[in-house]
Symmetry: C2
Subunit: 360 residues, 2 copies
C-alpha cells in the first residue's frame, strides 16, 4: 500500500437503496480513481454477490469489512449506537479510527451516522460540537459552503464561531479558497429585536482573525456573496430543505409545461440541448456529499436518496477532502485561532456581563 | 359612498420607485375594480401631476390625502415614528384608524410600516405581537401561507400559537380554506437536541382546537403539505429570501443558456410559448402583498422593488382581505379560541415547570 494511496471506507448498506446504489458507485469511482482503495463495509456475501454482478470481483481495488448489522433509516440513535455494535456504519467509522481508512462515507440515517462518528472518533480539541456542511451552487458558477445543517439545533455564539472555523477549513481544502470569506446568516431588517445569539456571534467573528465579511441574508447563499455561510442547525436545515423543495417544484412545473401538448413537446425536443445544459448546471446531485466537521477523522454523509451518480460525487468529495488535507487544515486553523478563540471567549464573557440585564 | 364600496389607503411615496410605480398601479387597479375607492396619501402636487400624466385626474375613484413627509427606505424606526409625523405612511394608516379606509398599503420600509401601523392601530385583544404573512406558490397549484417573516426575531411558543391563529384566519379569508391545516416548521432529524420552543409550540397547537397537522419540514412549503406554515421571524425571513435567491439564480441560468449561441436562441424562440407559461406559473409578482396581521385594521406590505403589475396584485390582496372579512375573521377566531388559549396558557405554565430543570 503506497503512501499516496487514499483509502475510503464505505457503509455499503446505508441509504434508501443500500447496495444497489453504493456498489455500482464504488466500482465506477474505483475505475475513475485508480489511486484510491475502497473498504467495503457490510454483509460480505451480499457485497461479493453485488461485485460479481458488476463483474468487478477479485480486482485489487477493494477490501471487504464484514459487518453483521445494518442501521435502518428510522432506527433511533440509541438503537444505532448501543444495540447494533456490528453495524456497517460502525465498522466503516472504526476503520478510520484504526488508521485503516483516511475517510468514511454513508448514505444512511444522518443522526445515527453523526452519533456513531462522534462516539468513536471524538471531536477535535477546541470544538464542542461537530457540524454538518454542504456546498450549494451559486450564481458565480462556484459553490457556497453552508453549515450547520442540522446537527446542532440550539447553538450559542461560541458554537457559531466554531462552525465558522470548520467551514473556513473545509472551503480551503475542498473548494480551494485561500482565505475564505465568512458570512453570518441574519435578517436584513431588525424590526423589533435582533437575535441576540447572532449579534454576539458577529462580535466574536470580528475578533476571530477569520476573514469575516459580516452579516448576510438568505438570498446571499445563491448570490455567492461569501464563500462560507454560518448559521445554527435549525435554520440551516430548514433553509436547505426549503430550497430543495422549490427546486423540485420548478423542475416539475417545467416538465409539465414541456409535456402539456404535442406542440410543447416538439418545442421541448428542439430545446433539449439547452434544457440539458441548464439541468446539468442546477443538478444538485453534483453537490452530494455533506461533511461532518469537527471530528478526528474525515466523515462524509451522502443524501439518503442518492443514485449511483450522486454517490460517486460524494465519494469524490471524500477523496478531495483527504487529498487536500482537510483534517490537518482544520486542526491547524483551530490552533492558529486558539489565541483569537481565547480572546473571543474573554470578549464573550464581557458581552454576557454587559447584556445580563438588557433593555426590553 | 355606498356600504359595499371598499376603500384602500395607499402610501403613494413608499417603495424603491415611489409614485412612478404606485400611481400607474392605482389607476389600473381602479379600472379593474370599480367598486373600490382609493385614498392616495403623499405629496398632493406630485400625485396630481402623476394622475394628469396617466390621464386619470378628476375621475371619481380617488381622493388625495396630503402628506408632507416621506419615510425613506433606510430611515430608522425612531425617525419614521417620532420625527416624520406627517409621512405618507402615517397618513395612510391614520385613514384606517379614523374609519375612512378599510385597508392600507405601502411598498416602503418594512420596519417603519410595521412600527407605525402598530403604534396607531394597536394590536387585537389576545395578540401580543403582530406578524407578517405571505403566500408562496406550491406544487398543488395553490399557495402556502407562511408567517412570521421577520417581525419577530425571538419568539416564545405562545407567540407561535398566536401566529397560527392569525395565519389560519388569513388563509380562510384570502385563500378560501374553510379550516386551514397548520404546520409547524421544524427539522426532520433531531440529532442532538430539539428546539425547545418549537416542541412546546407543538404542544400548545395540539391543545388549541386549530386544525393542527403537526411538524413540517422546509420542503413541505412548496409541496403544499399544509395551508399555513408557522415559524419565528428569523427563520421565516431567511427561508423566504433563500428561496427568492434560488429562484433568481435559476431564472438567470435559464436565460444564460437560452442566449448562449444562435442555435440556443433559435430554440428559445420556438420554446417561447412554453417558457412564458412556465414563467407565469412561477412569477412571484402574482404573490406580492404580505399581510401585517394581529392589528386592529388591515395593513398590507408590498415588496419594495415591486413594479406596477406586482403592486396591482398587492392591492388585489388588500381588496380581498377586506371583501372576505379578514379582520372580523381574525377577531372571531381569537374569540373562539380564547378558551383554548387559556387552556394552552395553563398547559404552557405546566410545561415550563416540568422543564424548569431539563436534563442537559
Amino acid at each position: 500500500m503506497s503512501k499516496t494511496e487514499i483509502r475510503i471506507a464505505i457503509d455499503c448498506m446505508g441509504g434508501d437503496a443500500g447496495l444497489p446504489v453504493t456498489l455500482p458507485a464504488a466500482c465506477q469511482f474505483a475505475k475513475q480513481n485508480p489511486d484510491t482503495r475502497l473498504l467495503l463495509a457490510g454483509d460480505a456475501a451480499a457485497i461479493e454477490a453485488a461485485l460479481r454482478a458488476q463483474g468487478s470481483l477479485g480486482a485489487g481495488w477493494y477490501e471487504i469489512l464484514p459487518a453483521s448489522e445494518v442501521v435502518l433509516m428510522d432506527d433511533s440513535i440509541e438503537v444505532a449506537l448501543r444495540r447494533k455494535k456490528d453495524s456497517s456504519m460502525r465498522v466503516a467509522v472504526q476503520a478510520v479510527k484504526d488508521g485503516r481508512a483516511d475517510a468514511c462515507i454513508s448514505a444512511g440515517n444522518t443522526g445515527a451516522w453523526m452519533a456513531i462518528s462522534r462516539y468513536i472518533l471524538k471531536t477535535l480539541d477546541g470544538i464542542d460540537r461537530p457540524a454538518i456542511a454542504t456546498s450549494i451552487p451559486n450564481q458565480k458558477g462556484g459553490a457556497t459552503t453552508m453549515l450547520d445543517l442540522g446537527a446542532n439545533v440550539d447553538c450559542s455564539a461560541e458554537h457559531l464561531l466554531q462552525f465558522a472555523i470548520m467551514g473556513s477549513a473545509l472551503a480551503s481544502a475542498v473548494d480551494h479558497h485561500k482565505r475564505p470569506t465568512i458570512g453570518l446568516l441574519n435578517i436584513g431588517e431588525e424590526i423589533i429585536k435582533g437575535n441576540e445569539i447572532v449579534k454576539r456571534a458577529a462580535e466574536l467573528l470580528r475578533a476571530s482573525g477569520l476573514n469575516f465579511y459580516g452579516n448576510v441574508e438568505g438570498d446571499d447563499i445563491c448570490k455567492g456573496t461569501v464563500d462560507v455561510v454560518v448559521c445554527d442547525g435549525f435554520v440551516g436545515n430548514v433553509v436547505l430543505k426549503s430550497m430543495e423543495g422549490l427546486a423540485k417544484m420548478v423542475a416539475n412545473m417545467m416538465r409539465a409545461e414541456f409535456t402539456r401538448d404535442s406542440l410543447s413537446m416538439a418545442a421541448g425536443v428542439l430545446a433539449r440541448p439547452v434544457l440539458n445544459r441548464f439541468r446539468d448546471r442546477v443538478d444538485n446531485r453534483r453537490y452530494n456529499g455533506a461533511a461532518l466537521l469537527g471530528l478526528r477523522g474525515i466523515v462524509i454523509k451522502s443524501h439518503g436518496s442518492a443514485d449511483a451518480y450522486a454517490f460517486v460525487c460524494a465519494l469524490q468529495r471524500a477523496r478531495e477532502a483527504v487529498h487536500n488535507g482537510l483534517l490537518d487544515g482544520t486542526t491547524s486553523a483551530i490552533d492558529s485561532l486558539r489565541q483569537s478563540l481565547q480572546a473571543a471567549a474573554a470578549l464573550s464573557a464581557k458581552i454576557t456581563n454587559e447584556l445580563s440585564d438588557p433593555a426590553p
